[in-house]
């Protein structure tokens, strides 16, 4: 489920937290300052390290592990489930590579190793599926965040800068979406329209990732829009905007060159937290069977099997759950750290 992120201190950037004398301080100096502050924050650094590690594991480590283990995340082993208990094998088990359970002399097909996590209900390597699942989570998380923050910033800029009827439309739209029980709506919409969208893969995405990113974008832009609008509303009264206007800069130029740099802090902080929300969203929808394609390894899809199997095989519940938990914690902590780093009140 997605969690409200608009509580005052969730993002915590009140209007004007952005550098107050940007013209006086060189941009490089500003970022340097932030880096110095961030470097002092051990927790944020560890979180950042974890996220880097996660990206590496997902996109480089997963194929490497599959290569080393000699089987892929979708390879099904008949001997990955033991009979007659009907329970998937546990961690660190050598499993016959025989094509199906009950083959004569399964030993002659050789063995493969399930390192961590054991097998899932179809005799697939749970550990590899979790590694590959990170790809889906990160893809959904990043694409949906980029999408909703882009729209949100645009809307916030337009509404906050131009005010008048544009602002009325933007803020009314925000207000309408906010009273909407949008999670229910997402679920319903996902089922009604999802199967058609799932065919869109852009050539590299697993089935359903695009759909989720699109839906999360469609319903995720209004919080960033609200935050950005508030920041822009206060910035547009500042002298440097006035000065730019007097030098004859176009509205577009003012927004791009003068306002946007000041929005970087809230954008970065908010995006980091939003990635965590979108990862949770993927997990929730996939759990309901509404996420990515059924055979795509994703953390939500893995969790979906848990209710049926946790009484006999608790790994299926624990592994994907902790994978999600650690990842979202890392993004949330990094977000907190960045907020503190951007916040000038936290003195060096």
């Amino acid at each position: 489920m997605s969690v409200r992120v608009d509580t005052p201190d969730a993002v915590g950037l009140s209007v004007g937290d952005a550098p107050s004398e940007p013209e006086a301080v060189k941009a490089r100096g500003y970022w340097e300052l932030i880096w110095i502050r961030l470097r002092r924050d051990k927790i944020a650094l560890v979180s950042f390290g974890f996220i880097v590690f996660l990206f590496a594991s997902a996109f480089a480590g997963a194929p490497l592990a599959a290569h080393l283990l000699g089987h892929g995340p979708n390879t099904q082993f008949g001997y990955g489930v033991s009979y007659p208990s009907y329970v998937p094998v546990g961690p660190w088990t050598y499993v016959s590579k025989a094509p199906y359970y009950g083959v004569p002399h399964p030993g002659r097909y050789g063995h493969t190793l399930f390192i961590f996590g054991g097998a899932d209900q179809l005799g697939r390597d749970l550990f590899l599926r979790i590694l590959y699942g990170a790809q889906v989570s990160l893809e959904v998380g990043i694409f949906a965040t980029v999408g909703s923050v882009t729209i949100g910033v645009l809307m916030g800029l337009l509404g906050g800068y131009f005010r008048g009827w544009i602002d009325t439309i933007v803020s009314r739209m925000i207000e309408i979406v906010m009273v909407f029980p949008y999670l229910l709506f997402i679920i319903a919409l996902r089922i009604v329209a999802g199967n058609a969208l799932n065919k869109i893969t852009l050539g590299f995405l697993p089935s359903g990732v695009f759909t989720l990113a699109l839906i999360f974008t469609a319903f995720g832009w209004f919080y960033p829009a609200r935050i950005m609008r508030g920041v822009v509303l206060s910035l547009r009264e500042k002298e440097f905007v006035e000065a730019a206007r007097m030098t004859g800069a176009s509205d577009w130029r003012i927004m791009r060159s003068h306002l946007l740099p000041h929005l970087m802090a809230p954008i970065i902080v908010y995006s980091t937290i939003l990635v965590a929300q979108n990862i949770l969203g993927e997990a929730g929808l996939s759990f309901l069977g509404l996420g990515v394609g059924a055979d795509v390894p994703s953390w939500g899809n893995l969790l979906q099997q848990a209710p049926s199997y946790y009484q006999t095989d608790v790994w299926i519940l624990l592994f994907p759950g902790f994978a999600i938990l650690f990842t979202t914690i890392a993004f949330n902590l990094l977000g907190d750290g960045l907020r503190d780093a951007f916040d000038p009140r936290s003195t060096i």
Partner: protein, 324 residues
């Protein structure tokens, strides 16, 4: 105040109609053919035509929407399920008590937990309680709802065997035969779902309450009260809590929509038949009237709650009604 009320009522109505238009258009226009869905398993063209006519799908879209709204206003009817012909209003009437039990019971749980923890950690920043609370907050906002539910079901329901892991009992005794009922059974079956809610929402509220209390403590009137020699207890209860709880009330009203969303997962995990899980089931079955009915009803619930909170807040805090 009257003017404020009128303005809010108009706005609520406007919101509601916009929401129904969006819902209606998306669900009745996007799918290939609702008549085909309604017509069911063995659809022959003659019956398809009849169904299309009886659903008014042969009319222009604005007329369809008008009929939909008219039925809703005049007959309080949201149509009939494509799947089993049940009245959607009746379905919602059956489901709403389950979801309400879950959400309101959950709210009691999460407030009961988050208020003391939030206050304690605000009064003693960086103490053990505070640090523990911050970790709790972090896990609460980071963990997937379904996973928390499943972990609770596994540990408390399955391993310890203290609570049922699924099912619902009616609050009032003497429901339909063969179903469990009575307040004790009701609460017994809802403990785990409530705890799941507690985990998810308490995190947000602890953070909110902590921040509010800390901020209020620095307000001038608190300092004044202290300077006057009021006891710490009196300052806390008379001045700090009263003012720092006000925003919590607003947020609580706003969270109804979020809680309804959370109910989808909690109901699914614990197999409760409420609005959320029936929405998922109905959506799987392309049962559009039920899907639209639940979304519209939930929207109405959110709007009504927000309205009530607005009014209550304006009544408590005169600045609001003057400004807006």
């Amino acid at each position: 105040m009257v003017q404020f009320l009128i303005r809010r009522i108009f706005w609520a109505f406007f919101l509601f109609f916009v929401a129904t238009i969006i819902t209606y258009i998306i669900f009745f226009v996007i799918p290939t053919d609702p008549a085909q869905i309604a017509c069911g398993v063995h659809c022959v063209p003659a019956i398809l035509k009849q169904v299309r006519h009886s659903l008014h799908l042969d009319l222009p879209i604005y007329q369809q929407y008008w009929i939909f709204v008219w039925n809703m206003v005049k007959h309080q009817s949201l149509g009939y399920s494509f799947v089993n012909g049940a009245s959607v209003r009746w379905v919602i009437g059956q489901d709403a008590p389950v979801t309400a039990s879950l959400v309101f019971g959950g709210a009691v749980f999460w407030l009961a937990l988050s208020i003391p923890i939030g206050i304690l950690s605000a009064l003693r920043p960086r103490s053990i309680v505070d640090r523990f609370a911050m970790v709790f907050v972090l896990v609460g906002i980071s963990a997937p709802a379904v996973w928390i539910g499943l972990i609770l079901a596994y540990l408390i329901g399955f391993k310890l065997g203290w609570t049922p892991i699924a099912g619902y009992c009616n609050l009032l005794p003497g429901g339909a035969a063969g179903t469990c009922s009575g307040p004790a059974e009701w609460a017994y079956h809802l403990i785990l779902p409530w705890m799941t809610f507690m985990f998810l929402f308490a995190a947000l509220y602890v953070r909110l309450i902590r921040a509010n209390v800390m901020e209020t403590m620095t307000e001038d009137y608190v300092r004044t009260a202290r300077a006057k020699g009021a006891s710490a207890q009196r300052v806390l209860f008379q001045h700090v809590l009263r003012n720092s709880m006000l925003p919590v009330v607003t947020i609580l009203g706003m969270d109804i929509g979020l809680a309804l969303g959370g109910a989808v997962f909690t109901e699914t995990v614990f197999q409760l038949r409420g609005l959320g899980s029936d929405l998922v089931q109905s959506a799987f079955k392309d049962d559009l009237p039920v899907v639209v009915g639940v979304v519209v009803f939930a929207t109405l619930a959110v709007i009504v709650f927000n309205f009530l909170v607005d009014v209550a807040y304006a009544w408590l805090d005169p600045r609001i009604r003057l400004n807006t």
